[in-house]
Amino acid sequence: MSGQSAIDLLAMHPALLSAGQLETREHRGVQATGVRGLDRLIGGGWPRGVLSELTGPRSSGRTAVLQASLATAIARGETVALIDPAGAFDPRTAVRAGIPLERLLWVRGGSRALAATELLMNAGGFGLVVLDLDETPVRAPTAAWVRLKQVAERQGTALLLIAARRAQGVGGGVVITLHRSGAQFQDTSPLPAAPAALRVLGTRAVLERMRGQTGNDNAPATLELQHDLAS
C-alpha cells in the first residue's frame, strides 16, 4: 500500500488508527474507580479517552461504583461532571462516599443528555465525565455515540456510561456488567422489637469487554458494598 492510499484509507475510516496514534492512546492512562477489586479487573481504572460502560440491574452497585469513581477522581485533582437525566443523584450518600459536592458539576440533562454530554466534553479539561442513563430510555442514532466517543478521544477524558443495559455498540472502552449477589440485613439492637437494617449489598462485576477484546480470561470481581447505618 502506498503512502497516499494509506492516508486515504485513514480519512475514509476514522475508526482506523495509525501506529503513532495507537501508542498515544495506550499511554493516556486510566482513571481509577476507587474500588480495589474493580480496578484490578479492568487494569487500573476507566481508560482515558474512550467511552466505557457500566451496566447492571437495580441494586447491583452501579451507583456505588459511580460515586467511588467520582470521589477518587476529585481526590486526584481532576475536574469531573455527572450528567444525570433522571436527577437520581443523592447528595447525602455522595458525601458519605467522599465526594466534595462543590467540586462536582451536576447536569440534570432531561431529554438532552447526550447533547449536554457532548457540549460539556468539548470544553476539554475534564478527567471523568459520567453519563448516568440508568433506566432512562435514550433513542439516539449511532452517530451520536460515535461523536461522543470521538470527543472523548480528542479530549483525553474518561467517559463512563451507566445504564441498566448496553445502550450503545460503538465500543472502544471497558464494558462491565454488575450482577447482584444478595443483600444482608442485620439487627441493629439486641432488643427483640428493634428493626433490622440493611447492612451489605453484594455484587459481582463481570468484565464483558476491554479495549476492543472480548472473552477475556479475567475472573469476575466480587464486591461488597457497605451501607452506612448513619443514613
Binding site: 474500588v35 441494586s59 450518600t93 451536576w106 440534570r108 470544553a123 443483600a183
Partner: protein, 521 residues
C-alpha cells in the same frame, strides 16, 4: 527607538462613515453616501470609494447624488449619520490606542488619537513601522481603517498621519521633521490648528481659513516655504496661528500631549428604526453589539467582568439589567448565552427600539498551573460551556449539588459551579476505604400501593411495578418542619423486593399514603 519622546497619531478618516459601516459591515464594499439629515436636500458629508466611482462627491445634496448616479442609483445607499455610532467608533479608536499605551489623548471628536510610543522598542524590535502596522491591524479588528503617523512631536505626527501614503503609515525619523513636512500643503498643516489645546484658546475655522487664504495669496503654498520665512515676520502678519504654523514647518512644534486615562466601562449602543418584540431577533442585534464591544476589549488585552444591558422600549421607558457572569470572559458567544438566558427569564415589557451594552473591563490574570495535578478546563471556556448547558437544559439544572439543612432526605439544592482550586490530598485519602453503598433516588418519590400485614409491608404495587416484599427493615421515623407549618411525619422502610432490588419507601403518617423513594445501588 530610544528614550526620546515619540508620539503616534492614529487618524480614522471619515469617522462618521466608518462608524456606520462598522455597525453594518455587510455594506463595506457598497456605494454608500452618508447624509447629514433626512430628505433630498440634506448634504452628502462622506462617501465610500464605490460611491465616488459613481460620481458622488461630498457637499452634494442627496437629490444631486441620486441624479449623478443615474441608472446605477439602485446600487447607491444613502445612510444617515448617527452620533451614537460615531461616539462608539471614536471610543473604539481610543481602545485601540489604550492597547498600546496606558494614557492617550483624543481630539477632533475622537477621530484622532495620540499616544506615546517611545517605550515600545522592547516589544517591537523591528522599529516604529512595526508599531504602526500593529496599531493599524488592531484598528482593523475593531472595524476601523486608520492612518498612523509617528514623529517626535504631536503636530508632526498629526500631519504625518494625514499625509500617509498608500500603506497608510508614515514614520518621521527623529530630527527629520522639517524635511518631511516641507512639501506638505499649508491647508493640510492647518488642520490641527483649530484643535490646539492647553497653550492658547482654540481658533475658529474662519480664522484658520483666513490665514490659509492670506498665505495662498502670497504664494506660500507649503510648510517648507513658510518655514523659510523669518518667524518674527510671519508672527507679525499672521498672529499666533502663523507662529504655530512656522514652528510646525520648522519641525519644532511645541504642542502639549495631554494624556487621558481610560474610562472605567465600555459602551456600545445601537438605535433601531423598527421595534423588536421577539427574543431571537433581539439576540441577533445584541450579538453584533457584544461582538464589537468584545473586540474593543480584546485589543486592550482585557476580558469582560461585568455586563449591563440597557434596552430602550417603545413608546417610552428603559429596561436596565445586570447580566450575571460567573467569571471574566473573552467570548462574546458566552456573553450572548447569558444575555439570552436573562432575557428569556425576564423578557422586556415592551418592544425594543434601542440597546446599549456596557461592559466592565478586567484584566485576566494568568494562573500558575500545578506541575503534579491535571489541568482542568480553561475558566473562560468552562463559563461559556456552563452558559450553553444552562441554555440547553435550563438554568436550574446545571451547577454543583448542595445539601439542604432539613430532615427531608430528598431535599437537594443547586449552587453555582465554579472551578475551584486544586484540593490538597490528605495522606489518609490515598488509603483504600470500603466502598459505600449508593442510593438512587426517584424525583419526585413515586406513589405506590402497599399491602401491609402484621409483620410490616408485604407487597407493593405501582403502575409499572408489582413486587412481593421478601425482607423489610423498619420503620424509621422521620419528622420535621412542623415548626414552619409544612411539617411532615414519615415512617421509612428498607425492603428487599422479589425483583432482588432493595428499595426505600415511606408512609406519610398524615394521610397514610405510600411513596417509593428510590433504591440502594
Amino acid at each position: 527607538m530610544g528614550s526620546l519622546l515619540r508620539i503616534a497619531c492614529i487618524h480614522a478618516p471619515e469617522l462618521a462613515l466608518q462608524a456606520v459601516l462598522r455597525r453594518s459591515p455587510e455594506h463595506r464594499g457598497d456605494a454608500v453616501g452618508l447624509a447629514s439629515g433626512p430628505g433630498g436636500r440634506a448634504n452628502i458629508i462622506a462617501c465610500t470609494q464605490a460611491a465616488a466611482r459613481l460620481g458622488i462627491r461630498k457637499r452634494m445634496t442627496v437629490a444631486q447624488a441620486q441624479a449623478v448616479a443615474g441608472p446605477q442609483q439602485h446600487k447607491m445607499r444613502v445612510v444617515l449619520a448617527n452620533p451614537v455610532d460615531t461616539a462608539a467608533a471614536a471610543a473604539a479608536l481610543a481602545d485601540v490606542a489604550y492597547g498600546f499605551a496606558p494614557q492617550i489623548e483624543s481630539e477632533h471628536d475622537g477621530a484622532r488619537v495620540f499616544l506615546a510610543v517611545h517605550d515600545l522598542g522592547h516589544l517591537y524590535p523591528l522599529g516604529e513601522r512595526a508599531v504602526a502596522q500593529a496599531v493599524a491591524a488592531h484598528a482593523e479588528r475593531v472595524g476601523l481603517r486608520v492612518r498612523v503617523g509617528i514623529a517626535s512631536s504631536k503636530g508632526a505626527a498629526r500631519t504625518a498621519a494625514r499625509t500617509a501614503g498608500l500603506d497608510e503609515i508614515a514614520v518621521i525619523p527623529p530630527g527629520d521633521e522639517a524635511r518631511f513636512l516641507a512639501p506638505v500643503p499649508i491647508r493640510l498643516g492647518l488642520e490641527g490648528a483649530t484643535m490646539e489645546r492647553g497653550v492658547r484658546p482654540a481658533r475658529t475655522d474662519a480664522q484658520v481659513a483666513a490665514v490659509a487664504d492670506s498665505l495662498d495669496s502670497w504664494g506660500v503654498k507649503t510648510l517648507g516655504q513658510l518655514a523659510n520665512l523669518p518667524v518674527d515676520e510671519a508672527t507679525l502678519r499672521l498672529g499666533p496661528i502663523g507662529a504655530w504654523l512656522h514652528r510646525l514647518g520648522s519641525g519644532h512644534d511645541t504642542e502639549t500631549f495631554v494624556p487621558q486615562l481610560p474610562p472605567s466601562a465600555l459602551e456600545e449602543s445601537l438605535d433601531l428604526d423598527y421595534e423588536i418584540q421577539e427574543l431571537d431577533p433581539l439576540a441577533f442585534v445584541l450579538r453584533g453589539l457584544l461582538d464589537r464591544a468584545m473586540a474593543r476589549l480584546q485589543v486592550r488585552g482585557l476580558a469582560c467582568a461585568g455586563l449591563s444591558l440597557k434596552l430602550a422600549l417603545s413608546p417610552r421607558g428603559i429596561d436596565t439589567r445586570e447580566v450575571p457572569l460567573g467569571a471574566p470572559t473573552r467570548e462574546s458567544g458566552a456573553l450572548l448565552q447569558h444575555v439570552r438566558l436573562d432575557l428569556s427569564r425576564c423578557p422586556p415589557e415592551s418592544p425594543v427600539v434601542g440597546a446599549t451594552v456596557i461592559m466592565c473591563p478586567a484584566r485576566v490574570r494568568a494562573a500558575q498551573m500545578d506541575l503534579w495535578r491535571p489541568a482542568g478546563p480553561a475558566p473562560e471556556k468552562l463559563i461559556a460551556t456552563i452558559a450553553r448547558l444552562q441554555a440547553l437544559v435550563g438554568v436550574d439544572n446545571v451547577g454543583a449539588p448542595a445539601l439542604v439543612d432539613t430532615f427531608a432526605e430528598e431535599a437537594v439544592a443547586m449552587r453555582p459551579y465554579t472551578a475551584a482550586p486544586p484540593i490538597v490530598i490528605a495522606p489518609e485519602a490515598s488509603t483504600p476505604a470500603p466502598t459505600r453503598l449508593g442510593f438512587r433516588r426517584f424525583r419526585p418519590p413515586a406513589p405506590v400501593d402497599v399491602i401491609f400485614d402484621r409483620d410490616g409491608p408485604s407487597a407493593l404495587r405501582a403502575p409499572a411495578l408489582a413486587l412481593r416484599i421478601m425482607v423489610a427493615a423498619g420503620p424509621y421515623r422521620s419528622e420535621g418542619q412542623w415548626w414552619q407549618g409544612d411539617g411532615f411525619s414519615r415512617d421509612y422502610w428498607d425492603v428487599q423486593a422479589s425483583d432482588g432490588a432493595v428499595y426505600r419507601m415511606h408512609q406519610n403518617r398524615n394521610n397514610g399514603s405510600w411513596y417509593l423513594d428510590g433504591y440502594y445501588d
